[in-house]
Symmetry: C2
Subunit: 113 residues, 2 copies
Amino acid sequence: MQNEKNTDQNFNCPMVKFVNLIAGKWAIPILYRLIITNEPIRFGELKRAISPITQKELTKQLRLFEQKGLISRKLYPEVPPKVEYQITELGKTLKPALNSIANWMKQHEQELR
Amino acid sequence: MQNEKNTDQNFNCPMVKFVNLIAGKWAIPILYRLIITNEPIRFGELKRAISPITQKELTKQLRLFEQKGLISRKLYPEVPPKVEYQITELGKTLKPALNSIANWMKQHEQELR
DNA sequence: CAGTATCCTTTAGGATACTG
DNA sequence: CAGTATCCTAAAGGATACTG
């Protein structure tokens, strides 16, 4: 089947995969906050830091990143509950790539029409 | 107004801006094809190369990139019409950043759960 | 050939109410 | 506090027909 060729081509493209990983509206803000914090941060504090994200979207994106192994989630079985999120070592390896795209944008922002 | 603070924070974040630039479903495939081709390529040939994109989506994304100055469009006023697209010098400067994210994905793909 | 125009479906994401 | 559940709107993108 012809279409499979290019559909696969797109799915197999590492750039496309990377974009899919960080293309959510709140993905970068969340990752960025966890990276620069670099220590456990509670759900509520994280939410306030990247406001005006909704609880639903924050939870969803955190679950995705946790699944990927980019962040960790620690539940303290207290009442009221306490949950801390933290960037993982794998997550930290994103830094150079993220810096690279940030630097491109800083350098070429004025040239972009 | 409180919300402006973080809305602005997101809009001002160069990483977020970069993602917005290349987050369209066909953005990377189009850019990638024009970059590796590195010479003028006709609309139809481009469409076939990144099939199964639709004409509408291809046109829309090409217009966006042209507007940004990342690609150029040259119309030959013939019948039938001939239009050639090509990556610009500005567009070529994306290469290191795109390589950076591609390399991250290649190196960490197996660790990603 | 290189588009537009139109219609349609799917998905992302926001608002709000509720809960262990 | 840290979520779920539900409803809703807007935007992205696909299919198809038409045109200079």
